[in-house]
Point group: C2
């Protein structure tokens, strides 16, 4: 069996990197020959997690066809979020917790999707189904991914499956996940250390909605003031990036991870669709308050997709 | 939780009807409220199976939105093979063993695909994973679906998973599956009882390949002569149907289920792509011999897709 690469989406968050490592380890135990890689540098939160559990950072790739014929995707399926040469590769496996869109194959494949809060939750179940033990350090990474995706189980994307998985993993890793989780989330919100360009890029995803090219970034903070004071510079960077990459709409969701609220910065058009999607008016400073919104996938993408379609 | 409908593809074969019944029963045991329905009349083989195990024929529907908001798909995912108003419905679950194409959702969902010979094989595993017992009659239906899709485990689509599932189901149903299987396959090949229109329609699926609309039907026989003597009339029906429905290419794969060979009748264009796909010349009577070919999914769709793309 020839080697395959396993990776999460571009602009990787903790789940994208951890799910690749966790799925690669599982598949290797089941007889496949895989390597977990990443489509970008780990963000500050992920770097904290890898360091905390003393796990190596995956190798970063730009293309895959130069190394392998076949790949396994985790935590994404939409081709525009995947490796640049995805259309030249055979996709043999997908494990994901997102909608399915802009995805197709010529051949039957393994596809496992569940509408849970975190891809690593599904992989935790797959270890159990296949009766493979999760190594202690990997359990630490996987519970970190669940904390990250569900904001310590507070996001509306959180399901009972995530709650069960995090407890299972915390037992294996022998860790107080609530105490560790706050420390980890804070480590990921150090916006002061990031340039404007890094801020608008580090957790950004691209979507096609009703023919429009939409870019949605999310920045976690512990205080909105960390972003407010840099807002003009961030908007300039967003405008330049949208012009450069051809985005019709560029949205930056600024989420306070401690009180589960967001504000959104909006660049581009159609603004009316954004206002319709969230039943709210854009302020003069091109921002919108979104109380209780913390999930891009569940609370931003679906209403925006409806409004644009 | 509101009621959902569960169904397989249009022009249903035994797996499309059985997988819907099997998945609906499983989901109801797990707390969902579902009803298995069908997108067309059972074929002769399926009618034999339902009669043999004394199971009711599912209700046939043309549209779903008039009854429900949400649906579960089995044994297919491509929208052109699904219910006519699929785009107006929320798809919450898919269980399938085909490639993924022309499929998308706005929301995360349950999707379970495995590259095995039969959708009912995956559902057999899911009963085990969820620790739900398979009722005796349902086990008989499910092993019939595996016999049908794999031509009694002889098709190249057959995997070890199918072999394990059929043995598990034969034990539950307390049946000699090899003896029963030959009887069942013969019951499905009674082409004399079918009109030309029924023959070209009863197991036909539509595909989009390289911008071309392609229709591929499969007819099982025990002797090629059953079709040879009606070939001119069948070609007339294919030509009329292609004109009526706008198919660029209409292929009818005639498969001898006892010796695992096929001949293909070809109507439409581009003929050159068909010849390239199978590395073979079309005879003057618009047919092509395809020794060893029995699987539309594995031996017809992929090379044709390559040749047309």
């Amino acid at each position: 069996m020839s080697k395959e690469l396993v990776f999460g989406h571009q602009s990787p968050d903790t789940d994208a990197i951890v799910a690749a490592k966790a799925y690669s380890y599982l598949q290797n135990q089941l007889g496949y020959d895989t390597e977990a890689v990443a489509l970008g540098e780990p963000n500050a939160e992920t770097a904290f997690v890898l360091n905390y559990f003393d796990e190596p950072t995956p190798r970063i790739i730009k293309t895959a066809k130069n190394e392998v014929d076949s790949v396994m995707l985790v935590d994404h399926n939409e081709f525009q979020q995947s490796v640049s040469d995805i259309k030249d590769l055979t996709i043999t496996h997908v494990v994901d917790h997102h909608r399915i869109s802009n995805f197709q194959t010529d051949q039957p494949l393994y596809y496992r999707a569940e509408p849970v809060g975190c891809c690593s939750t599904i992989i935790t179940k797959m270890y159990d189904e296949n009766k493979i033990d999760i190594p202690v350090q990997l359990a630490g990474l996987m519970l970190s991914a669940i904390i990250s995706d569900t904001l310590l189980l507070k996001s509306p994307t959180t399901t009972d499956e995530d709650r069960i998985a995090i407890k299972t993993l915390a037992e294996i890793a022998d860790i107080d996940y609530e105490k560790y989780g706050i420390e980890m989330l804070k480590a990921g919100t150090n916006v002061a250390a990031k340039s404007d360009q890094e801020l608008i890029d580090s957790d950004a995803k691209s979507f096609t909605m009703g023919g429009k090219s939409v870019r949605i970034d999310q920045i976690n903070v512990v205080e909105f003031s960390d972003i407010d004071k840099r807002q003009d510079d961030i908007k300039k960077a967003m405008t330049a990036e949208a012009a450069d990459k051809g985005y019709d709409l560029f949205l930056v969701l600024v989420t306070n991870v401690l009180n589960s609220d967001s504000r959104m910065i909006v660049i581009g058009d159609p603004v009316a669709a954004v206002e319709k999607a969230f039943n709210n008016k854009l302020s003069k400073d091109a921002t919108m308050s979104l109380p209780g919104v913390v999930s891009r996938k569940k609370q931003v993408v679906p209403p925006l997709n409806d409004a644009l379609s």
